[in-house]
Amino acid sequence: MTSVKPVLRLDGIVKTFPGVRALDGVSFSVMPGEVHALMGENGAGKSTLMKVLGGVHQPDSGAIHIGEEVVAIADPLEAKAKGIVFIHQELSLAEELSVAENIYLGELPRKSFGRVDWGKLAAETDAILKRLNVRFDANDRVGDLSIANQQMVEIARALTVEAKAVIFDEPTASLTDAEKVVLFDVIADLKAIGVGIIYISHRMEEIFRITDRISILRDGRYQGTVATAETTEEDVTRMMIGRNLDLSRNASHHEMGEVALEVRGLSCGDLFRDVSFEVRRGEVVGFYGLVGAGRTEIAETLFGLRVPSAGQIFLDGEEVRIQSPADAIAHGVSLVPEDRKGQGLVLGMNCRDNMTLPQVDEMKTGPFVAEGAEIAIFDEYRERLDIRTPSWRQKAGNLSGGNQQKIVIGKWLSMNPRVLIVDEPTRGIDVGSKSEIHKLLRALAAQGYAVMVISSEMPEVLHVSDRIVAMYSGRIIRSFSSEEVTEDSLIQAISGLGGDQAA
């Protein structure tokens, strides 16, 4: 047997930016047919490393080997030419163009007079789509495809070049479980033809399901590589953050108060139907289900972004009609949205202004903004929520994910809400800050807030909730107390199996 040579080997990669040593001697190798996980907290250097591989940044020292040769990657084009292909977290597709044109973007086959060779394009695209076993065709407009299928288009693009290494950056962030299975099948196929795969994800269960080895970065430094089969989640977590993480259940140890929010028979078209539940003061109710189960849509309806087609909403026992976010805010309903950067914050604005955004109109003295009062509010919540920023002048976009999330939460707390809805509280937030956000949510409940948490991560739901509402296909299947819930029963409920069938 001949010894197998790695398809990609990094040797002592160093990259510094003014004031930061982003990568400090990173070395690891990817074998052909291997799925190699790259893990680390946000800021550990994963994205910098990927930019070095993609030719966006040049390393200060160290070498990249592809096969036998040492290569310098000057720009993204060259990375592609050398067989390094990226499947990005944010898809980079032209939505108005067809699937075929997107797959061959920049490389459309030509005929005389610069004409596109549509026949050749269709034939080659069909062959690739067949290999991927997908259910859309070459002429479909990419904007009409689901996110999962759009990702398949990106993967198809990787197959047009002779890819040696394919890098997946958080590929499952917006996929349903069924779509994940399809993605994992495709990864298995790539593996089978000897492609080396680098798989970046925060999701442990995926890492342990599909990867062969795991390399871990912390603060730009390489922490080591372990064989997936010989390690545990706990070990990996410890390597990532250098300490143990408490992910145990967290039942409430305090008294529940009055019912703050009650929803009866709420429906919104096909998105969710006949939904009833209540949230008490001092209680965290977790909403768990697959993407598309209708959880976010319920939150959007309560916040006035969608108009319900039937049903009633009660706040503190009084029926209310919420027709716009302004109504919702006036009634004390707050939403910390899933898309923190897009919907929760004005990234270019400073921390103080972000925090006082919904109430700046009420705080003015005459026509002028009351800056002093704004700073006082900011300082209060910086202390209460432990927001780490040098000053209120810092732009929100410059903060870490965890601190950004705290700004959004602080924004609503300063309005003294009756109900706080948090959609995906820790999406894109690194492991260390995650547990801090979890603690914060628990603390808020203990202080008497009524909190609704929507999450796609089971450990998170189990960890923070007093009660868990399981949703499937727009319906509430079952509501569990934190004592009675088990992983199995929860998985059954959100898969539409078992539990009480909705009457």
Binding site: K80, S92, A94, G106, L108, G114, V116
Partner: protein, 333 residues
């Protein structure tokens, strides 16, 4: 039928449906109120309408390309005027005096080259500096217009060449020369956008510029070529028009950029780029000219015409938005 196919068909055909509506409306309204006893849908009248559509229409083809590409060009009216001056003035230059009527093609080439060069200049600035096309061409609009006034002050530049006038007034197979140029420009740009790699790359760039860059498309080059093309077409429009009229005022072509953009948007091109085609634009051009002519036919004055076109433009954009969000669950803002 696929989801979205209906709204797509509606959008694609809407402008032509609108044209039919205009024709019916003005025919009936014309019968009732018009001072002239000629019918609105008279054959000669329609041929004339096509001819009158040509100056805006030829430029609009280039604007479709540039807007699909994700840019805009506000300097087309000024390029139009400069090309006209080059055309008319160059025929009087002493070095061409010996050429007789052979000076005509030389003057045409000079004017077209000038337009192409000015367009390419816009494109190069956008490419090399990375400044937004709106700003660059806004500056160019003012700057080029400055040249026009520097050349002859407030006075018109005139030169009438009867051979040229005969050519411009000719009718081949019933259609005027200008109409043929409009149809030719439409066909050429259609071919470029729908059939060539350059054209498809232009769509990709306008749709998702970052994706195009990452795919190795030479974004700057494509944009510069498209600016050169719109410069060429602005000059072509001037060449066709002034071959007949023989006199250019320094204010000629002002507001053309806005009429052109109106026609392109009416024709269904997405303002942010990535979608649109010249067939829709041709519809937009004809619809506007019909409206101008029709309102004139029933006795409305210019200010009324502008008001109506403005309202229709806004109505079209509202309608377009409605069609686009239909089917998707639209979030309220």
């Amino acid at each position: 039928m696929r989801p979205g196919a209906l709204s797509k068909a509606l959008k694609g055909g809407a402008i032509w449906g609108f044209i039919v509506l205009e024709l019916i409306f003005f025919s009936i309204a014309g019968e009732m109120v018009s001072l002239s006893d000629k019918a609105f849908m008279d054959w000669d009248n329609m041929l004339l309408l096509l001819k009158q559509s040509a100056p805006i229409g030829i430029i609009a083809m280039g604007m479709t390309l540039v807007m699909v590409n994700g840019n805009i060009d506000l300097s087309v009216g000024a390029i139009f005027a400069i090309a006209a001056i080059v055309l008319l003035d160059s025929m009087t230059w002493p070095i061409f005096a010996g050429l007789g009527d052979r000076a005509i093609p030389v003057a045409w080439l000079l004017a077209l080259a000038t337009g192409t060069a000015l367009g390419a200049l816009n494109g190069l600035i956008v490419w090399k500096t990375g400044v937004d096309a709106f700003i660059v061409t806004l500056g160019a609009m003012l700057g080029f217009r400055g040249f026009v006034f520097m050349f002859n002050g407030e006075n018109p530049t005139s030169h009438l060449n009867w051979t040229l006038v005969d050519f411009a007034e000719a009718q081949v197979l019933g259609l005027h020369t200008a109409t043929w140029f409009l149809l030719g420009a439409t066909l050429a740009v259609w071919f470029l956008m729908a059939r060539t790699v350059h054209g498809r790359n232009a769509y990709a760039i306008g749709d998702n510029r970052e994706a195009a860059v990452n795919a190795g498309i030479r974004v700057g080059r494509h944009m510069t070529i498209n600016f050169a093309i719109i410069g060429f077409l602005a000059a072509l429009s001037a060449v066709v028009f002034y071959s007949e009229s023989g006199s250019v005022n320094p204010n000629d072509g002002q507001l053309y950029e806005l009429w052109v953009i109106t026609a392109v948007v009416l024709g269904g091109t997405k303002i942010t780029g990535g979608a649109g085609n010249v067939i829709g634009t041709l519809g937009g051009v004809i619809a506007i000219q019909l409206l101008r002519k029709g309102l004139g036919h029933v006795g409305a004055d210019t200010s009324t015409v502008n008001l109506v076109i403005g309202l229709i433009l806004i109505a079209v954009l509202i309608l377009d938005r409605q069609l686009n969000v239909k089917g998707k669950e639209a979030l309220k803002i």
